[in-house]
């Protein structure tokens, strides 16, 4: 057998490593190019694959990179009726096996204050998600869902790129790619992500054909009703709110309703100290609910 000299071996090995690194570099720079102007975390799929996927989901391909969707919730107006929560379940084919739902409404004590830092202390002081009647004196209501952050830790940690930040600001899921490791679930400070622990089933006559059904073992969460918002419609939770406490729109456009409301009213975002740069703002216009 011919002996491979060490020097030769090192040469070949070095060359191989070099070629691999070069390959990775070009690949990386390609994905960066795809990432869009915002410099947000890159969506990892090729455009063609994504377009195909979207077409399959019936979502259309009209992503407008100039847009950044955001939501303003007026906690002064919110009466805690949870219509948004149930309408969302209906709209997005959320199976009964998933609790809590994508939107969760917290009943806060007055003492909790409008801080943006609701904590376990507030919970001990009576904040809860399991209230029977609403609205009630001495409480205010805080709906929470996926914040579609500009710096989303869930997207960073995903080992397969099943969750990604799209160019119009939406943080979305690829249910066909998710491996169910639940790293995103623990990485989300808002606990906004849900997991299909058991076989999900939605009654056939209740299925919304625009929203894909999820298989067991994958993560799901609020999509800001991507199938509606990209077609110019409002998310279902915004549409059904009986007191108009939810305002949705393009934060990049200064003339949009949500931009004007945010400009006119002081507000806060949840857990700003964890630097996720969330896109849901909580505002209060005027007095809190009183009977």
């Amino acid at each position: 057998m011919r002996q491979i000299e060490r020097r030769d071996f090192l040469k070949y090995a070095g060359g191989l490593v070099g070629v691999t690194l070069l390959g990775q570099y070009t690949r990386l720079s390609l994905t960066r190019e795809n990432a869009g102007a915002s410099g947000a975390v890159n969506p990892v799929e090729s455009k063609a694959v994504r377009a195909k996927m979207r077409a399959a989901d019936g979502l259309g391909t009209d992503i407008d990179p100039g847009k950044k969707f955001g939501l303003a919730i007026d906690v002064g107006a919110c009466i805690g009726c949870r219509r948004c929560m149930w309408a969302c379940k209906e709209e997005n084919n959320i199976p009964d096996t998933i609790t809590p739902l994508w939107i969760e409404v917290f009943r806060m004590e007055d003492s909790a204050g409008l801080t943006g830092h609701p904590s376990m202390e507030d919970l001990l002081n009576g904040s809860t998600t399991s209230y029977e009647k609403s609205p009630e004196e001495g409480h205010w209501y805080m709906p929470a869902q996926c914040n579609h952050c500009d710096n989303p830790p869930c997207v960073k940690v995903c080992p397969v790129g099943a969750t990604y930040k799209d160019k119009d600001g939406l943080v979305l899921m690829d249910y066909d790619r998710c491996i169910g490791c639940r790293f995103c679930v623990v990485a989300c400070p808002y606990s906004a992500r849900r997991f299909n622990w058991s076989n999900p089933s939605v009654a056939a006559d209740k299925v919304n054909p625009l929203v894909p059904l999820r298989p067991v073992g994958v993560v799901e969460k609020c999509t800001f009703c991507v199938h509606r918002t990209r077609q110019g419609k409002l998310p279902r939770c915004v549409e059904v709110c009986p007191v108009g406490a939810r305002h949705f729109g393009d934060l990049n456009n200064p003339d949009s309703e949500v931009s004007r409301i945010l400009k006119a009213n002081p507000g806060f975002r949840l857990l700003e100290e964890v630097n996720t740069k969330p896109n849901i703002w909580y505002i209060t216009r005027g007095k809190k609910y009183t009977r």
Binding site: M1, Q24, R27, L28, T31, V41, N42, V44, P100, E104, F106, M108, P118, S119, M120, E121, D122, L123, S127, T128, T129, S130, A144, P153, K156, V157, C158, P159, V160, G161, R177, C178, I179, G180, C181, R182, F183, V185, V186, A187, C188, P189, Y190, S191, R193, R194, F195, N196, W197, S198, N199, P215, V216, G217, V218, V219, L270, L271, V274, N275
Partner: protein, 432 residues
């Protein structure tokens, strides 16, 4: 001349003794393997249920409850255990600690087995294990930011390096086996592929370089990417900490040294290798284990005082759950009976020759290993039970599925180790 003959005879006798367990099999061996196989079949049944019904058969839930549980605790446990074994072996080579040579390969095999179990634990934890290989497929894009991708990288690298190391350093011993066990000769001939009589020197040089790479990787895996799964997450109180790296690294060194002591103690007893494994080895390793475990207690103290002194509310909540709340009895029991008492005992008993007992050393090591598994559980679960938003307080009580799968992974690890002992030499036999 006579002396040389005598020495050669002594050498041959030693080889005979070390290889005897591979030649003679007692009925107890079959009973032992039978028990392990029963547990493994039970494990397969439990996993089948989990695969068909989804992870809902476990006690994990989110956001009310813990999204990670026993499986991830096991993953961290096994991945850390994988390190000290190799650390012992690599230091034998790098620091020329010839004294530890008899236990070096026990550690190497431990490393390989534990790494496999770490990988298995992760796959078991996945909701879609059928897509596990996607992690390899998307690796080039995700390794930029996903700690889980970093983990996979280092584990695969580490497994490759340590398996190569094990194989290379074993080759001269395989020659003995090939001569003596003609029936299994094919295994040894395959592993001896390309053997040349003078290769020993070159293998040693290669193993030296491999040791250096491995020592570096130990720091990267145990003191780096595994703790960073937790330490980088500002989303969970109790995890977000720069201490995570050193904290996990210390745990890895301690738990794996304990495992080496445990394995060496058991083999010494079962195979009657009293003269081949010197008590001095146990003495040295046990003092080291005691000191490192106490250092781990210091790190735990540093962690807890940081979580309480003037910390954000949520951090204090987690600390309170551990030290005063529902987990307190177990946590304090683990700290005192699992760490402080055994490690103090290990240090004290080494002070006087008369106090030292190998049985006690091995028992204490076993206790410390168990305590380290529990500690991993206390790292993973409590932080998940206290989310930052005021969700209802959840609980996490592992189901029988999770316990069965946990027992199964341990049984698989022990079975692989046992089969290794039957087929391949666990101790360096020396030159022919």
């Amino acid at each position: 001349m006579l002396q040389r003959v005598a020495r050669a005879q002594g050498h041959n006798e030693r080889i005979e003794q070390l290889l005897r367990p591979m030649l003679q099999t007692s009925p107890l061996f079959y009973v032992f393997c039978g028990i392990l196989l029963t547990i493994i079949i039970w494990f397969a049944y439990a996993w089948y249920i989990q695969l068909t019904h989804g992870l809902g058969v476990t006690a994990m839930r989110t956001p009310v409850g813990a999204a990670w549980g026993v499986y991830i605790a096991s993953f961290v446990f096994f991945a850390s255990m994988a390190h000290g074994g190799m650390a012992v072996s690599a230091s034998v080579r790098l620091l020329k600690l010839r004294r530890l040579l008899p236990v070096a390969r026990m550690g190497e095999v431990l490393t390989a087995v534990c790494l496999m179990m770490a990988g298995l634990s992760i796959v078991i934890d996945m909701g879609r294990p059928d897509r596990a290989f996607s992690m390899l497929f998307y690796w080039p894009q995700r390794v930029v930011s996903s700690p889980l991708s970093w983990d996979m990288t280092v584990i695969i690298l580490y497994f490759t390096l340590s398996a190569s190391y094990l194989w290379l350093t074993m080759r001269s011993d395989l020659l003995h086996c090939e001569k003596r066990f003609s029936r299994r000769g094919i295994i040894y001939r395959l592993l001896l592929i390309g053997y040349q009589p003078g290769e020993k020197e070159r293998v040693d040089r290669l193993a030296w370089w491999l040791s250096i790479a491995i020592v570096f990787l130990i720091v990267m895996l145990s003191g780096g990417v595994i703790p960073w799964i937790f330490g980088l997450m500002s989303s969970r109180p109790g995890w977000f900490s720069a201490l995570a790296g050193p904290y996990f690294l210390t745990a890895a060194i301690a738990s794996s040294i304990a495992a080496v002591i445990l394995v060496a103690g058991i083999l010494r007893k079962v195979y009657h290798w009293q003269e081949h494994i010197d008590p001095a080895i146990f003495k040295g390793l046990s003092v080291f284990l005691g000191v490192v475990s106490l250092f781990y207690m210091y790190l735990t103290y540093a962690e807890q005082i940081t979580m309480r002194y003037a910390a954000p509310e949520a951090e204090t909540m987690v600390s309170e759950m551990l030290l005063q709340g529902e987990l307190a009895p177990l946590y304090w029991g683990m700290l005192i009976l699992g760490f402080i008492v055994p490690s103090l005992m290990l240090i004290i008993q080494a002070m006087r020759p008369g106090w030292f007992s190998i049985t006690r050393t091995v028992l204490a090591s076993g206790v410390i290993i168990a305590a380290f598994w529990l500690k991993r559980f206390f790292i993973v679960v409590p932080s998940l039970l206290r989310p930052l938003l005021p969700f209802p307080t959840g609980t996490y009580q592992p189901t029988w599925i999770e316990w069965s799968i946990l027992a199964g992974t341990f049984a698989i690890a022990v079975l692989i180790y046992t089969l290794y002992l039957k087929i391949l030499p666990i101790m360096e036999l020396g030159e022919e």
